[in-house]
């Protein structure tokens, strides 16, 4: 005796793209508020602090941008794959492989000038990330091997491979055996704007968004992506090569995540180390999804998401334990993602059917 059921929408709600996320966020904040109030905190005060520390000062703002850079690059990458219905869950691994390749360049040419080393790091990272994306694309393109599983599994391989390097051959000889590589020389570090930590990776992220936009909007290949994404059969009839599209998309998708890895090691940590990514590659999936794969929306959502991450630690000074902060962050995501379902479905009330 179900009273409520989900029914597929025939036509989207007008303005759904705006209305649903806003309502979702409001509900998330409400649910979080109840939880906070029950634990004896003033929700308004907590939300204000979260907002204030993420966006309210120039320092907080800059730190939010710092978080947004790798998120945006990874999300732009996965958004391309998602467009052709390739579920690339592997941005995390592609990120690590990019960081690794960039580190290899940095450690191999410590004396090099910035003008040579940084571009080399960039290319190496794009190639390594791209190849890590291409690897699962090959069985997918030729034998239809499920890429969700393979991309996910390759994440672990990439992370453990980096672990192996920093625990072994690449360990800093002056680092008291701690699992870190030697710090990069100046030539291998990305400059940052003023005294903030916002590095030039920001420009790369903006250029990447612009390129993705141009490709999708103005190129034949972008049009092909759309067709392949909507219907592979139609694409085939139109004489498009599905295999080629899959390989190329995954290559670019991985390359973007790889570049994110490069900007993080060269711009922030300035050495390769464990825990380089607190899950950027996974968050990117959510971001791409929420942004409906639109490159400009990805930039915006990455920024908001970055704020959620960077502001979280400030809440602890309000006496909120780390676990509650994670819960609050999870809650907000849960509601936003949950709200997505109302884009294509609507609730239907069924009166007293027995």
């Amino acid at each position: 005796m179900r009273l409520i059921t989900l029914e597929k929408r025939m036509s989207p709600i007008p303005m759904a793209g705006m209305v649903i996320p806003v309502i979702s966020i409001a509900l998330a904040l409400l649910a979080g508020g109840v939880f906070l109030a029950l634990s004896g905190k003033n929700p308004l005060e907590i939300y204000f602090t979260l907002f204030q520390s993420a966006f309210g000062s120039s320092y907080g703002f800059s730190e939010t941008v710092v978080k947004a850079i790798p998120l945006a690059l990874c999300a732009l990458g996965v958004s391309l794959a998602f467009r052709v219905q390739l579920w690339n869950i592997g941005a995390e691994g592609q990120f690590y492989m990019g960081a690794m390749a960039a580190t290899w360049v940095a450690l191999t040419y410590p004396e090099g000038s910035r003008w040579v080393v940084l571009p080399a790091m960039f290319l190496a990272a794009a190639m390594a990330g791209g190849l890590w994306g291409l690897l699962p694309a090959i069985p997918r393109a030729f034998w239809k091997v499920n890429e969700t599983i393979t991309t996910l599994m390759l994440n672990y391989i990439a992370i453990f491979w980096v672990d192996f390097l920093i625990y072994g051959p690449w360990k800093d000889p002056n680092g008291y055996n701690f699992p870190l590589t030697a710090p990069f020389e100046l030539g291998a570090t990305l400059p940052s704007f003023g005294t903030s930590r916002v590095h030039y990776g920001l420009i790369l992220a903006l250029i990447a968004a612009l390129l993705v936009y141009i490709i999708l909007k103005y190129t034949v290949w972008g049009y092909q992506l759309k067709v392949v994404g909507e219907s592979q059969r139609a694409a085939k009839y139109a004489g498009m090569s599905i295999v080629k599209t899959i390989l190329l998309v995954m290559l670019i998708s991985g390359a973007l995540a790889g570049i994110a890895g490069m900007t993080e090691v060269a711009g922030i940590t300035q050495r390769l180390q464990q825990g380089l990514s607190p899950g950027y590659g996974y968050s990117a999936i959510i971001i791409a999804w929420l942004a409906r794969l639109n490159p400009w929306a990805i930039l915006l959502v990455s920024f908001l998401f970055g704020g959620l991450l960077s502001g979280g630690f400030s809440l602890q000074s309000m006496g909120l334990p780390a676990a509650s902060v994670y819960m609050l962050q999870g809650l907000i995501l849960f509601f936003i993602l949950g709200g997505e379902i109302f884009n294509s479905y609507r609730l239907k009330w069924i009166g007293g059917r027995s």
Binding site: V34, P173, T269, S310, F313, A323, K348
Partner: protein, 379 residues
């Protein structure tokens, strides 16, 4: 359309309800809010703000818990200070630097960073804020406004090794070790020297977890050692996970950080423990008095920063007496843990008879003593 309206009505009702609840919750806290906003005003002889950043949650029952006990002790002992902490801060500069900068911006004048991995972040932030004093636990880099602090944990570790060496029947003792860095290596070595001082045939088997804080992984590592024949589990980790593994298997264990008997009452023999409180009080006092100078503090059992936890019920009177005598010798300065002769795993003499390792040598120790079954990952 009617249905949508109903839905919105429901949502609106929820909104109102939640606001009411939120309002009630808010009503209870304004007092504390006011206090918080008044405190950071500088230069008015107000309370000195002291902050901590922790690598794990304060409820880890081990490393971070011990530091937080020290923080609470500090707040109780010194009246004119206010302390705060941020827990579970990752050891990567991406987060650590921001959290440290945030704490400075919130008006903290003394900041304790309690994990090795914060080292470079601390130095970087300290350069930007020369009037804030940073204390970094277990590191080796200092600056004008950055000091380091740690304890000679090898002293109580040796004593706990004696208790373990007396307890083992299989003569295999497992050691769950976090990271292959000198701090952990000399911990394993001093423990092994303690074991061998009472039981020359026993071996200490080492497994690395490559993490400080991961209760499940720590427990799994202990299980693998138990499966390999160990009947006593020692560890250098942040949580009591390995203790619980030993208890479940009916084996014994040696804790670390805090008195861990409550987590495995049938297993825990004893363990080396931290007592950070007095150090925190002395340091902050020195800052208040203006006598603080950057140093590398390396406290001993006699200083009270470290100790041996109370014995479990299963530890016999004879063993207690034996260990207590050694403890007294350490306190009196009559016994040195790293006094020769000490051999390495290959049997080569590393510290000749009549010599004692210097602090510098101990802090750089990257080799295992004879009796350790395991290896340090090398290049």
């Amino acid at each position: 359309m009617m249905k949508m309206k109903k839905l919105f009505g429901l949502a609106a009702m929820l909104v109102v309800m939640a606001l009411v609840v939120a309002g009630c919750g808010g009503g209870q806290t304004p007092a504390s809010t006011d206090k918080k906003e008044d405190a950071p005003k500088e230069g008015t002889g107000e309370k000195l703000k002291v902050a901590y950043i922790y690598v794990g949650p304060v409820g880890d029952a081990g490393w971070t818990y011990a530091h937080d006990q020290g923080r609470q002790y500090l707040e109780k002992e010194l009246p004119n200070i206010e302390t705060s902490f941020v827990e579970s801060v990752p050891e990567t500069p991406a987060d650590a630097e921001r959290v440290l900068t945030d704490l400075v911006n919130k008006g903290n004048k003394v900041i304790f960073a309690t994990s090795f991995g914060y080292m470079d972040s601390v130095l970087k932030v300290a350069k930007k804020y020369p009037d804030v004093i940073f204390l970094h636990c277990s590191g080796y880099k200092t600056d004008k406004n950055v000091g380091t602090y740690f304890g000679r944990m090898y002293q109580p570790r040796f004593l706990s090794g004696m208790a373990a060496g007396k307890q083992t029947k299989s003569n295999t003792i497992g050691f769950v070790a976090a990271m292959p860095i000198p701090e952990v290596v000399w911990g394993i070595n001093s423990f092994t020297l303690g074991v061998k001082s009472v039981n020359p045939t026993a071996k200490v088997k080492v497994v690395w977890t490559n993490t400080w804080y991961d209760p499940a992984k720590e427990k799994d590592a202990a299980k693998s050692l138990l499966d390999a024949g160990a009947d006593v589990i020692a560890m250098h980790q942040d949580t009591p996970g390995p203790m619980q593994a030993a208890e479940e298997k009916g084996a014994f264990s040696v804790g670390y950080n805090t008195d861990m008997r409550q987590f495995a009452p049938k297993a825990v023999l004893t363990g080396p423990v931290w007592n950070w409180g007095p150090y925190y009080v002395n340091t902050v006092k020195a800052v208040i008095d203006g006598t603080w100078k950057s140093e590398q503090y390396f406290g001993s059992m006699a200083d009270g920063i470290i100790d041996l936890a109370p014995y479990g019920d299963m530890v016999s009177e004879d063993v207690r007496k034996l260990v207590d005598e050694k403890k007294q010798a350490i306190l009196d300065g009559k016994f040195e843990v790293f006094a020769g002769p000490i051999k390495d795993q290959s049997g080569a003499v590393k510290v000749p008879e009549g010599k004692t390792m210097t602090d510098e040598e101990v802090l750089n120790m990257m080799w295992f003593v004879e009796g350790v079954d395991g290896s340090i990952p090398k290049k």
